[in-house]
Amino acid sequence: MHPRLRPILDSFQGKPEELIPILQRVQGAFGYLPAEVLADVSRFARVPESSVYGVATFYDQFRFTPIGRRHILVCRGTSCHVRGAADVLRAIEDHLGIKEGQTTPDLAYSLETAPCLGACARSPCMMVNRKVEAGVTPASVRALLRKANGHGAEPR
């Protein structure tokens, strides 16, 4: 068993209904849900591995690949959409060479979208490691990411 998993499981009793909180803690600790860790979670929570996978794929919050050091979340809410979020997303994809849902091979960036970040008044917006960047344009993407490199915040 992974040494970082043991302390997480110690705070649960090993019941099927604990699966989602366990997965949240695992993702909190590892940044994603590693397959070998999920096998142990399955055994502990007494839920078949296939059902663990079923639950984890049902909810958007869970991911199976490592997250980048800088996690970018582009808003696709109505307001952002109207004000050009699709162009912003394409600009980031072009700049980083990855698609939505992917991580750069050097684990520097990962890119995802969100249905709404709740900052509609400042659209189009995105989040880099939980910090909201407002009024983003395709032209400002490059500078923003350079700035993100500088502030050295830890990924979520």
Binding site: A35, L38, A39, S42, R43, R46, P48, E49, S50, S51, V52, Y53, G54, T57, F58, F64
Partner: protein
């Protein structure tokens, strides 16, 4: 409501309902109009008195049509090329509802093609044809208990998926095919399926569970197998071997003509030549220089004839079979304590047990259908205790898992009993009324305080106490065991410990309780019943009892030897020492199955006249002077007796290939050539009639009665219904009481040391069977598992510099084998395991032939080994 309607002949379309599963109500096709309530899914609506229900018309048709259209719009595939064409529920429903092409065209979604999973050798998964009814998911979770698949993703992306979406062959899938037979459409389909032109009802030839099945036949070939839903043993279920493992019957290596050794080589001969050669070889060695080894794979009638031939014609009690290597201690042990060495209860009672204790049995691998039944009972709320040195599959379903050291079973069980006695959880009324020798037994418990037991077994004391309380307080409790208990030098003690535990808690003689040894071979129970044992005649009637001999002598018209014969292991030793000069070996492969197997090969090569009767030229048959080609289970009539003592009919489906003949026919011809009288049977039915006359517990069993279904013995008379539960009124002992037996802990015969620091324990794979003679000749089974793997803990492997998949050498004091290593946490540090299914990696050349002093079983479960990377 749906079932009521269907039973009344009113068709209500449905996709997600299956009678074996709880209703899910997801397909929305069985919607009906309930007056005063509107639309309701019939599958999930209970029928109430006074209800008025419309199954068609108006809103019902409209709602149904929309649901069907959406399904069809998303259903890709060409019906004519689909394996389920003509049996597809969606086709049937579409025809019933009526489909409008124009309405469909409007719905067709952007084409999406998902990859087809062909990784399993027996079936294909095509997600493009899937209707997401969930029958496969529910079957895998609740019926089989494997949980290999579930719904993954969401909305339109929803699909049935393995963990991580990988190929099914690399998942936890047990290849039982239960999902495939239940899939209403072509999403799950058997590869190369062919429709049989007729079906023959028979019994599976693999393990002791004895599942009822139908062989589907086209011409002279078996093209498919399906479970017999009427069988109380398996209620239609089968495992991977039973459902897909029949290909060996048509294997080109089947023996089709007798072989006689000439100038050192086995060459084809006629039956006359071969039988003459056998008679010439056997004739000079009548008496104690002859031995016969019968077969737990052959029918009752065949085993009966073999032992009758050995005793009545050859004048010796040297007759035994492979039960010696599996359940001899169950017979010696349970006869002592309960009076009868068989499962006390039946498989059908598992679902009503409050507690199940499985010790020394990897049930889901070795007895898969019983394993699934145990998992199912555990899901339904029965407490499950699993004790095993390895973390076996069943341990995942267990409430309490005790991982004790190999060979420490007596200590573990006595420790549990000590807790039960100390905490006054014993069934004192039962003990007082039905048992004896409780006092001395209690005294022997004194040595098993939990500190000592923890030290011997390696199991924390709290867990032992917890298991003891769980077993004692959840009644009725059913105890199961298999080779993990018996294959030890203290196998008889282990067995006695299990019966002590059951007696202590009053768990014998009641429904869903008992001591239940799971028998390995399809007919090992029957071979024992038929007296293929050196000390008893058919029906466990002792050869050293004059009145018994007199009865058989008058029936058989001969004089019978009175001294009990040698056991299987002793027969082989005696052959090696030149004391046995002629050996008749039927359907066994001791060169692979016996402990210290190299010794066996040497002993059989020592010049004794060896006749082997088999369906293939096995490793043992290659050493023979004469090889006689036998018919397989599918090519003959007879009866098998399964692990729960149920005598079941085996029926001939096809003709034996070439010149091969049923074993009973061959043995009778040999007996006649040697002057034997009373071997002129027209067929197996008449042999069974003779058995019924001589064996009281088979007294009421005949081919005629078995037409309807199996009968569990004792079935003493024509009208007797059979006995699923033993010892309900009295035990089968002389005074009718069960006997507690005081026990001591004895360690295994071989201890680890610096040179051989690891314990090797042998086990079984789900995919293969015994020495692989049958399963390795089924291409699909070999594709699923093609080679031996020694399983070891990553900690041990790391210390030895071994990585997963490395070729390693495993050596014991007796031999060495080269195999690949598989690293797994299922093996605790210090313990490695291997099967013995593969002739090229002969695990039993390593194992220790040290014997249990009473049962004479070798200790194949514990031997000291060393593992190193192969150079």
């Amino acid at each position: 409501m749906l079932e009521t309607a269907l039973a009344a002949g009113i068709y209500v379309p449905h996709l997600c309902h299956h009678p074996d599963l709880k209703p899910a109500g997801v397909c929305r096709l069985c919607l009906v109009q309930v007056e005063g309530r509107g639309l309701a899914p019939a599958c999930r609506t209970p029928v109430e008195s006074g209800m008025v229900v419309r199954t068609a018309g108006g809103d019902v048709d409209k709602a149904r049509r929309i649901a069907v259209e959406l399904l069809i719009a998303d259903h890709q595939g060409d019906c004519l090329r689909c394996a389920k064409n003509g049996q597809c529920e969606l086709q049937r429903i579409a025809a019933y509802v009526g489909i409008d092409e124009q309405r469909l065209a409007r719905l067709r979604p952007p084409s999406r093609r998902l990859p087809v999973d062909s990784s399993n050798p027996f079936f294909e998964r095509d997600p493009n044809k899937c209707v997401l009814c969930g029958i496969c998911v529910r079957t895998c979770q609740s019926l089989q208990g494997a949980g290999a698949i579930d719904f993954a993703f969401r909305g339109y992306d929803t699909q049935v998926s393995t963990f991580g979406g990988g190929p099914i062959a690399q998942s936890r899938c047990e290849s039982c095919g239960e999902c495939v037979v239940r899939c209403p459409v072509g999403a799950l389909a058997v590869k190369n399926a062919r429709q049989p032109s007729r079906e023959v009802r028979t019994v599976c030839p693999y393990c002791g569970v004895g599942c009822g099945m139908y062989l589907g036949v086209q011409g002279d070939r078996i093209v498919g197998v399906r479970g017999d839903p009427e069988s109380p043993v398996n209620r239609g279920r089968l495992c991977v071997k039973g459902r897909f493992g029949h290909g060996f019957v048509h294997h080109p290596q089947r023996l089709t003509a007798p072989l006689v050794r000439k100038n050192g080589r086995l060459v084809p001969a006629t039956w006359d030549e071969a039988l003459d050669a056998v008679a010439r070889g056997f004739a000079p060695h009548r008496g104690h220089r002859f031995a016969a080894i019968a077969s737990a794979k052959c029918t009752n009638e065949e085993n009966y004839v073999i032992q009758k031939f050995a005793r009545a014609v050859m004048g010796t009690n040297h007759v035994d079979h492979c039960a010696r290597l599996c359940h001899a201690p169950s017979v010696t042990g349970l006869v002592q304590s309960l009076g009868s060495g068989a499962m006390t209860n039946s498989i059908d009672e598992i679902r009503f047990a409050a507690c199940i204790f499985a010790i020394g049995t990897n049930t889901t691998s070795a007895h898969p259908v019983i394993g699934a039944e145990i998992r199912r009972a555990a899901q339904a709320g029965a407490k499950l205790i699993v004790a095993n040195p390895k973390e076996i599959e069943l341990a995942r379903a267990a409430d309490i898992f005790l991982q004790h050291r190999p060979g420490s079973d007596v200590a573990l069980l006595m420790g549990m009993m000590r807790v039960i006695v100390d905490e006054r959880l014993a069934d004192e009324a039962f003990i007082a009324a039905r048992c004896e020798n409780f006092g001395p037994f209690c005294d022997s418990l004194q040595r098993f305080d939990l500190d000592t037991v923890e030290e011997i077994t390696g199991v924390p004391r709290e867990k032992i106490a917890q298991a003891a309380r769980c077993y004692a307080t959840n009644r009725p409790a059913m105890l199961f065991y298999a080779m993990g208990i018996t294959q030890h030098t203290h196998g008889t003690d282990n067995v006695l410990a299990t019966s002590n535990l059951a007696l202590l808690t009053g768990n014998v003689g009641r429904p869903s309780s008992g001591v239940n040894p799971l028998r390995g071979q399809n007919n090992v129970q029957g071979a024992c019943d038929m007296g293929a044992l050196p000390n008893v005649l058919p029906g466990y009637q002792r050869v050293d009892a004059p009145e018994v001999r007199a009865k058989f002598e008058s029936a058989w018209g001969c004089t019978l030897p009175e001294i009990p014969g040698l056991t299987l292991t002793e027969i082989i030793d005696a052959a090696g020492q030149g004391e046995i000069r002629a050996l008749y070996l039927v359907g066994e492969n001791p060169v692979l199955s016996e402990a210290n197997a190299r010794h066996v090969e040497e002993a059989l090569g020592r010049g004794a006249f060896l006749v082997v009767q088999d369906i293939f030229l096995s490793e043992t048959a290659r050493l023979a002077d004469v090889v006689l080609p036998a018919a397989s289970f599918a090519e003959k009539d007879g009866t098998f007796t399964n692990t729960e003592r149920r005598v079941q009919r085996v029926r001939k489906a096809i003709d034996p290939p070439g010149e091969s003949k049923p074993d009973w026919w061959i043995t009778c011809r040999i007996a006649q050539r040697l002057g034997g009288k009373g071997f002129e049977y027209p067929g197996p039915s008449e042999i069974l009639d003779e058995i019924a006359r001589l064996v009281p517990s088979y007294g009421g069993i005949s081919f005629g009665r078995l037409e309807v279904g199996g009968l569990p013995w004792p079935c003493p008379s024509e009208g007797h219904p059979g006995t699923p539960i033993l010892h309900t009124q009295r035990f089968a002992t002389k005074d009718g009481k069960a006997r507690f037996v005081p026990l001591e802990y004895r360690p295994p015969a071989e201890a680890c040391d610096e040179r051989f620091p690891l314990v090797l324990t042998t086990d079984r794979s789900l995919i293969h069977y015994h020495t692989g003679t049958m399963t390795r000749r089924v291409a699909g089974l070999s594709a699923l598992e093609g080679e031996e793997l020694v399983r070891m803990n990553p900690v041990d492997a790391q210390a030895l510099g071994i990585a997963d998949g490395d070729m390693v050498e495993v050596s014991s004091r007796r031999g060495t084998m080269r195999v690949r290593a598989r690293l797994t946490d299922a093996c605790p540090p210090g313990v490695v395991s291997a099967t013995f299914h593969f002739a090229e990696s002969r695990t039993n050349e390593l194992t220790n032939a040290a014997l249990d002093p009473v049962a004479k079983i070798p200790e194949t479960k514990v031997c000291a080994v060393r593992v190193q990377r192969a150079g």
